[in-house]
């Protein structure tokens, strides 16, 4: 009698539907939660994150020079801008830029001559030229990516070519006048 009512009664099918819905929902949530550690395991592991700061001694870099070092296994450009290069970067109207930023926003206070960026082209990740001695710095005097011709200016800002953004400026902090900790 009760079972028949369960199957045929006007409001009773809802009871079974409810139980089924609740059971499947609990199982779905359980399966979803079980996936989380699997997905999370693919995020950078502790040893990768442990390499996330790099100390650079900048005392040997003369104005106009740049060095290429490594930060989180990515190339890092540290460049000592000349007053002329700073003036060139400041002369550009910010509104004309694809990714509008001033040199001041891209450097540390009191250290505006130090342009510290990742050496990773924001197009498809090649290493731009211009940090090494005698390398092509491109039409804007900053960096030039040989892969697809993106040109960056003396503030590491994208000026020409397919790259959508300025060279990324990592977090960094001058611990003294000659030592900078990146990351």
């Amino acid at each position: 009698m009760a079972i028949e009512a369960d199957l045929a009664g006007p409001e009773n099918p809802r009871r079974r539907d409810y139980l089924q819905f609740a059971a499947v929902s609990v199982a779905a949530v359980g399966a979803g939660v079980a996936v989380l550690p699997l997905v999370n395991s693919m995020n950078p592991s502790a040893d990768v994150l442990a390499q996330s700061t790099t100390e650079v001694d900048v005392s040997k870099i003369e104005p106009g020079q740049a060095i290429k070092t490594s930060f989180r296994k990515q190339p890092l450009f540290v460049r000592n801008l000349t007053p002329k290069e700073i003036a060139e970067a400041d002369a550009v109207p910010v509104s004309s830029l694809r990714d509008p930023q001033t040199l001041e926003q891209r450097t540390a206070k009191g250290h505006t001559n130090w342009l510290i960026t990742l050496g990773v082209c924001t197009h498809l990740g090649c290493v731009p030229l211009g940090a090494g001695e005698g390398e092509n710095r491109g039409p804007f005097g900053g960096y030039f990516c040989p892969c697809h011709g993106s040109a960056y200016d003396t503030a590491g800002r994208i000026r020409q070519g397919p790259a959508p953004k300025n060279l990324e400026v990592p977090k960094y902090n001058f611990t003294s006048d000659s030592v900078v900790v990146v990351g």
Binding site: M42, V48, R72, K73, Q74, L124, G125, C126, C147, P162
Partner: protein, 419 residues
């Protein structure tokens, strides 16, 4: 599932009878690729390429499993384990490695011909849409597998290929950078990325094998198409797969193996890139990054977008590149012509060959440096590629007057032989 005149499996051997009554696996094989599968009698050699793709998959699985026994998936030792260990120290390692690397190229040659066969003869049309859709899925899996395999030797092209391809994902707005770091397990390709690529490179071929089984299953519901595109009308239109097409495919396999051997033994590095014999160096980009030849047409589409239009150019490039493949999923519904075979479609036939030429141009551009001439050429060719599927094919299916179709497969065959 099959035509009523299909032969039934009747094992004479008592062992096979015993097995068949408990697990009908021999029966399954007999009905799939044996005498139990009736096939149109007029298939030409373009129909070899399905079986050839299966042969290529098996070659890759076997050489790959043995290579994995000698490979080290660590950024410090992967390059040496391939270029010193496998190529010099492991017995016959050079053969396995060249067979596997060139086997990938052979696989793509076969797959591209197989796909263009389907395009010319309208094999994607009802009732075989599911065969086509599964085929596109297999193609996507194949590309993912090939890409990850190319990363494993950890040479300069491996590394920068990984950097560029995972860089596609950073084009996704807002979450792109996070997705890329998650995919790589770090900020640049390194141990974490190499290990997971190796894991997936080992897994995906078995996923492909599973998808191939579904592909063949879906094919066997309506049965194979044929060069006339006219459906099978009776027993006189078909012959059993075995021995007729096992023999015809067998000849194709021999030719395939000859060409494969020529590559392995006489030009093993012809399709490779010399930069990949330089160990990966995260601080120095090769002057000219190119993927393997089989990705060139898609690479050309990626690079064809150079100007921002609402979205950044880079995102357009990535969307167009994936779109160029995803577009194939819609083809069965874009081509409304009831006539399958291009042989009876005068306008479609022209459009087909123009598309072949267009893809070759894209391939040529994709393999060339990004100089202005090639960029413009890729832009034109990429635009035509999309126009072919989205505009030309739908319009042709309305405008075209197809040639009269033969009454049956047998009639077409007899007309050809003059009997």
């Amino acid at each position: 599932m099959s035509f009523p005149w299909a032969k039934h499996y009747e094992p004479k051997n008592p062992v096979m009878q015993w097995v068949d009554s408990r697990l009908p696996l021999p029966r399954f094989v007999y009905n799939a690729v044996g005498a139990g599968y009736p096939v149109p009698r007029n298939l030409n050699y373009w129909w070899n390429f399905g079986v050839l793709a299966g042969v290529a998959l098996v070659c890759q699985l076997i050489t790959g499993i043995v290579l994995a026994m000698h490979f080290h998936s660590s950024a410090a030792s992967a390059f040496d384990s391939v270029n010193v260990g496998i190529m010099r120290d492991v017995n016959a390692g050079w053969f396995l490695r060249f067979a596997h690397a060139n086997g990938a190229s052979m696989f793509f040659v076969v797959i591209y011909i197989h796909m263009f066969r389907g395009l010319y003869y309208g094999s994607y049309k009802a009732p075989r849409e599911m065969v086509w859709l599964l085929g596109v899925v297999i193609f996507l899996l194949l590309m993912a597998t090939a890409f990850m395999g190319y990363v494993l030797p950890w040479g300069q092209m491996s590394f920068w290929g990984a950097q560029v391809i995972t860089g596609f994902f950073s084009a996704i707005p807002v979450v792109g950078d996070w997705i890329r770091i998650w995919l790589l397990g770090g900020y640049a390709p390194d141990d974490a990325a190499l290990n997971r690529f190796f894991s997936l490179h080992y897994l995906l071929p078995f996923v492909i094998a599973g998808a191939v089984i579904l592909h063949i299953w879906a094919l066997h519901i309506p049965g194979s198409s044929n060069p006339t595109g006219v459906e099978v009308k009776g027993e006189q239109d078909t012959v059993p797969f075995h021995p007729y097409y096992t023999a015809k495919d067998g000849l194709g396999v021999v030719v395939f193996l000859i060409l494969f051997s020529v590559l392995i033994f006489f030009a093993p590095d012809y399709l490779g890139h010399p930069d990949n014999y330089i160990p990966a160096n995260p601080l120095s980009t090769p002057a000219h990054i190119v993927p393997e030849w089989y990705f060139w047409p898609f690479y050309a589409i990626l690079r064809a977008f150079t100007a921002d239009f609402i979205l950044p150019a880079k995102l357009w490039g990535v969307l167009a590149m994936f779109g160029s493949i995803l577009l194939l999923f819609f083809l069965p519904w874009l081509d409304k012509s009831p006539v399958r075979s291009g042989s009876y479609r005068p306008m479609y036939k022209v459009a087909f060959w123009v598309l072949v030429a267009d893809v070759l141009v894209l391939g040529y551009c994709g393999g060339s440096p990004a100089e202005p001439l090639f960029v413009i050429l890729s832009q034109i060719a990429a635009a035509y590629y999309f126009a072919h599927f989205l505009i030309i094919v739908p319009i042709i299916s309305h405008l075209e007057t197809p040639k009269p179709l033969p009454g049956s497969i047998t009639e077409a065959v007899l007309a050809k032989t003059g009997a």
